[in-house]
Amino acid sequence: MHQIQGASQIATVEYVISKVVIGKKEQKLLGYSLSEADYLAEAEARVKAGIDLAKISEENIRIQDNFIHLSLPPVEIINFSFPAGEAKVNEDYTEDGWLAIIEGADIDRFYQEAELSVRKDIVNMGLEEAAQDKTKKFLMKFLLQAGYDSIQIDFEKFRWEPNPLNTGNIPQANG
C-alpha cells in the first residue's frame, strides 16, 4: 500500500497545541476493580493551515488597472501531526498494577482518544482568523512583486463544523 499523489497547497500558519494524555486501565472481577494501571504523558500536536491553490480559478480574481481583488477559498488544515512516539511519558505517574498491565494496544487507545479530543478542541480555538491573516500576508508579497499596488483579499464565507472529523479540514465552505 504505497501511493504518491500531487498536491497544490500552501501552508501559511502552524499551531502548536499541547495535550496531557492521562489513561487508565482497570481489571475488574464481577464489577469490582481488582487492579489499576495509570499512564500520563505530555504530547504535542502540530497543525498547519493554509489554502489549496488548486481551488483558485479565474472566478476568484478581479483585476482593474493596479487593483486586484482575490476571493480565496476557505482556509483548511494542510497537515495534522500528533506524534505519539515523541510524547514525554511521566514515569512518576505511570505505573502498572499487579494485574492491569499497560500494553501497546492500550497506549494506542489512549492516543486515539486524545487525537479525537484535540481535533474537537481546535474548532473552538479561533484558529481561522490567524490562518486567514497569515495567508493574506503571505500572498501580499507575491502580488506586490507582480506589480499590484492596491490589493484586496478576502475569503469565502465558511462555518465551523461542530465536529471537523468528517473532512480533516477545519472550515467548511458555506456555499
Partner: protein, 345 residues
C-alpha cells in the same frame, strides 16, 4: 433369585448410604465446611454456565479509558510551505531494528569520543619541541598521554566504557597501540575493517541490555514534500524572457506523520476507523520508551520509503505547475516556463 435380590439390595444400599455418609462426615466437621462446599458448587455452576455461553465480560472485565484534558494552544507562527506531493504508506518496524540503529550510532559516537579525547592530548604533546624542532621526551610524554587518557576515560559513561572494552577486545593488543590505531583512522574505515567483530560485540552488548523484550509495530501514515518558501528572497526570483527562475530553493520533506488515526472513525462506513499504529507482536514487557522508539522508527522508515518512491521529484514538478498556474491567473504575468532550482547563481 434370592441371591440376585440380595446383590441388588446391597448395591442400592451402598449408594443410598453415600449421602448419609457425606452428611455424617460434615456433621463430624461442623456446618461451616458444608456451607463452603455449597458456595463452591454454586460458583462453579455460575462460571460453568458463563463458559458454556461464552460470555465472560460480566465476570472479568478490562476497562481502558482516558481522562478528558484541555488542548492548549501554545504557539502560532507564520510559515510559508508549498506542498507539492503527498505519499501514503505503511511500514513495519521492530524494537531490535530500533536498537540496532541506536547501537550503530552509539558505537560511532563512542569511537569518536575515545579517539578525539586521545587525539587532543596527543596533539598537545606534539607541540612540545625544542629549538631545533625535535620532540622533547616524546616517549615519556606519550606514556603520560595514555595515562591522562585513562584518567579521563575513568569518568566516562558506562556505555562508553562498555564500548572501550569492546574495542579493546577487537584489537586484542595493548591499549596504547589500540589508541594509536584509533587516532590515525576514520570511523568509516575502522568500521569497514572490523565490521564483523564490531557487530558481534554490538549484539553481545545489546543482549545484556535488551533482556528479551520484543515489540513490532505496523504504522500507516503520510509524508508531504514541497518547498519552504520562507527561504525565498527578492534575489531568488530571476526573469529570463518568458522563463521565471526561482533560485536557491530545494524540494524537501515537510512532514512525515503516523498519527494515532490513519483514517478517522467517522470517515469509515463501519465507524471503526483505521488506526495509525497496530501492535503486531509484544512480549517481555517493553518499556514506554521502547514503544516510542519503535513508533519513531516506523516514521523514519515511512519518510525513507517516500523518498525512494520519488516524492521529491513529484513535488518539484507539481510545485512548478502550481506556481505557474497561479502566476498566469494573475493575468499580468506572461510567464510560459517556471523553474525552481537549487542554485545560488
Amino acid at each position: 433369585m434370592d441371591k440376585k435380590t440380595s446383590i441388588f439390595s446391597r448395591i442400592l444400599g451402598f449408594f443410598l448410604a453415600i449421602p448419609k455418609k457425606i452428611l455424617g462426615f460434615f456433621s463430624m466437621l461442623g456446618v461451616l465446611p458444608m456451607i463452603l462446599v455449597i458456595i463452591t458448587l454454586l460458583v462453579g455452576l455460575f462460571f460453568g454456565y458463563k463458559w458454556m455461553i461464552g460470555d465472560f465480560s460480566s465476570i472479568v472485565e478490562t476497562k481502558v479509558s482516558i481522562v478528558e484534558t484541555p488542548s492548549i494552544l501554545e504557539e502560532v507562527r507564520a510559515i510559508g510551505e508549498l506542498v507539492g506531493a503527498e505519499y501514503f504508506g505503511e511500514e513495519v518496524h521492530s524494537l531490535s531494528e530500533s536498537y540496532e540503529e541506536e547501537d550503530m550510532k552509539n558505537m560511532a559516537e563512542s569511537y569518536l569520543e575515545i579517539r578525539d579525547s586521545y587525539k587532543r592530548i596527543y596533539e598537545r604533546i606534539e607541540k612540545m619541541r625544542d629549538i631545533n624542532g625535535n620532540l622533547i621526551g616524546h616517549e615519556k610524554h606519550l606514556q603520560k598521554t595514555y595515562e591522562d587518557f585513562m584518567s579521563v576515560h575513568a569518568t566516562a559513561t558506562n556505555y562508553d566504557k562498555a564500548w572501550f572494552a569492546a574495542f579493546k577486545r577487537i584489537h586484542n593488543e595493548s591499549i596504547r597501540s589500540m589508541l594509536e590505531y584509533l587516532r590515525t583512522n576514520e570511523w568509516k574505515s575502522y568500521y569497514d575493517h572490523y565490521k564483523d567483530r564490531l557487530n558481534r560485540e554490538r549484539r553481545y552488548l545489546r543482549k545484556i541490555k535488551n533482556n528479551g523484550r520484543v515489540l513490532i509495530y505496523l504504522g500507516r501514515g503520510t509524508v508531504k514534500a514541497g518547498y519552504n518558501l520562507d527561504a525565498m528572497t527578492e534575489e531568488s526570483v530571476v526573469r529570463q524572457g518568458d522563463t521565471l527562475l526561482l533560485k536557491n530553493l530545494k524540494a524537501q520533506i515537510l512532514n512525515a506523520d503516523i498519527n494515532p488515526w490513519y483514517v478517522l472513525p467517522e470517515e469509515t462506513e463501519d465507524g471503526k476507523g483505521v488506526p495509525g499504529f497496530e501492535v503486531l507482536k509484544e512480549y517481555g514487557s517493553p518499556t514506554h520508551q521502547d514503544h516510542g522508539r519503535v513508533k519513531e522508527g516506523c516514521e523514519k522508515d515511512l519518510e525513507k520509503s517516500a523518498i525512494e518512491q520519488g516524492i521529491l521529484k513529484t513535488a518539484e514538478k507539481r510545485a512548478e505547475e502550481t506556481l505557474l498556474n497561479f502566476l498566469n491567473l494573475l493575468a499580468r504575468d506572461s510567464t510560459q516556463v517556471l523553474s525552481i532550482v537549487d542554485i545560488q547563481e
